[in-house]
């Protein structure tokens, strides 16, 4: 009897271990992407949370007619009845270049509600000698929150940081995470005229 009880406890613990492992984040950049995307793939994650199975995909096109425009596309999907349905999408473009900083992509449950937030960061007009613009895109419950930073080419120009007003509506932990994250990026990149957000 005691043996059976021990086995039962063991099996319950083992299944619990399985359950906690159900939430995951997987980089699928080198795998087959289960949805169509425009242009060249730049970043891809699959993740499961309390809201289901999701995809986060970023792709890019170059040299669109009639002008030589470079565009970036970010999309979030959730699988519903076996089909990936779009939750959100963003598009941005530049006549010079758009560079996704894929090493700053985060799929993370900041407010511990069992649903992942996504953050990705890209640079508009990098390396053109005239300064550039960075954008940090947070998606929280499929709504977009943007941090825009203009980094000047030299310290005389203005360093400009704009946070969407909607940031104020976010849980404090999420807002703080984004601010800290941006400050870390600015520090790590040694951005000129670095501006510390409070």
């Amino acid at each position: 009897m005691r043996f059976k009880l021990a086995v039962l406890i063991f099996m319950v613990l083992f299944s619990l271990h399985r359950v906690s492992a159900q939430m995951y984040v997987k980089d699928i950049y080198h795998d087959k992407i289960p949805v169509d995307y425009t242009g060249k793939l730049r970043d891809a994650y699959e993740f499961i949370d309390a809201a289901g199975l999701h995809l986060y995909i970023v792709s890019k096109t170059e040299g669109e007619k009639p002008i030589n425009r470079i565009s970036i596309f970010g999309t979030g999907y959730t699988r519903v009845n076996g089909i990936f349905v779009k939750d959100w999408s963003i598009t941005d473009f530049s006549g010079l270049d758009v560079l996704l900083k894929y090493n700053y992509t985060k799929v993370v449950d900041i407010d511990k509600d069992g649903v992942y937030e996504t953050i990705f960061v890209y640079q508009l007009d990098p390396n053109n000698g005239l300064g550039c613009t960075w954008k940090l895109m947070l998606h929280y419950k499929n709504k977009k929150y943007v941090l825009r930073v203009h980094v000047p080419s030299d310290d005389d120009d203005n360093y400009n940081v704009q946070m969407d007003k909607t940031f104020d509506a976010l849980p404090k932990s999420v807002r703080k995470y984004v601010i800290d994250y941006w400050n870390d990026i600015a520090e790590e990149q040694d951005l000129k005229g670095r501006y510390i957000l409070k």
Partner: protein, 196 residues
């Protein structure tokens, strides 16, 4: 009887899983790192292979005086009689250095039961003359480096070179390093890759 049978199958399955799990790689950047270090830990793995239990760690230190300088140090340890003994270490410095730690790989390329480590960093990312990149691969505690110079805006062509030592490596590892660089070049849109 049936109960015991099911139990036996269950235990064998979990035992097999455990056995397979003997070789493992675990990200420990946000855990307690069991070796002492200076500066900030920016990449850390614990891994186990046929040569034992290892720690791979990269740290970053910033100096403001006499001039701004960023130093990165990569170190690898193997546990011997309960203490971690250094296998190799590398140090590099520049005005600024960015480690692309999402690209760090602890992987058994040649399937000999011993992991290789590969990491990549960029020196002086915003410098007008362009940036240097280095891929550092360790195979049996020996270092192999891929060096790239990516030209700045309106500057001359870049350069790309493999250490001569790469020719002494198993072909699978040399090929891995080439593919690894080509992927970095592609994802960062550097326009500087090895041709096949």
């Amino acid at each position: 009887m049936r109960f015991k049978f099911i139990l036996m199958i269950f235990m064998s399955v979990s035992f097999l899983q455990k056995t397979r799990a003997q070789l493992y790689v675990k990200d420990i950047l946000y855990d307690k790192i069991p070796v002492s270090y200076t500066g900030k830990a920016i990449d850390a793995y614990e891994y186990k292979d046929n040569a034992g239990l290892h720690i791979y760690l990269v740290t970053k230190t910033k100096e403001e005086r006499p001039a701004q300088k960023v130093i990165i140090t990569g170190v690898c340890y193997t546990q011997t009689n309960g203490t971690f003994i250094k296998d190799w270490s590398i140090t590099d410095f520049a005005f600024n250095i960015l480690l692309y730690n999402v690209n760090t790989k602890i992987v058994d390329i040649d399937n000999d039961g011993v992991y290789e480590t590969v990491f990549v960093y960029q020196l002086d990312p915003d410098a007008a003359p362009g940036a240097d990149w280095k891929v550092i691969l360790h195979h049996k505690n020996q270092k192999y480096v891929v060096r790239a110079h990516v030209a700045g805006f309106g500057m001359d062509n870049g350069t790309l070179a493999l250490d001569k030592l790469f020719d002494t490596l198993p072909l699978s590892i040399k090929k891995y390093a080439i593919d690894y660089w080509n992927d970095i070049a592609d994802r960062n849109e550097l326009g500087l890759s090895f041709k096949n």
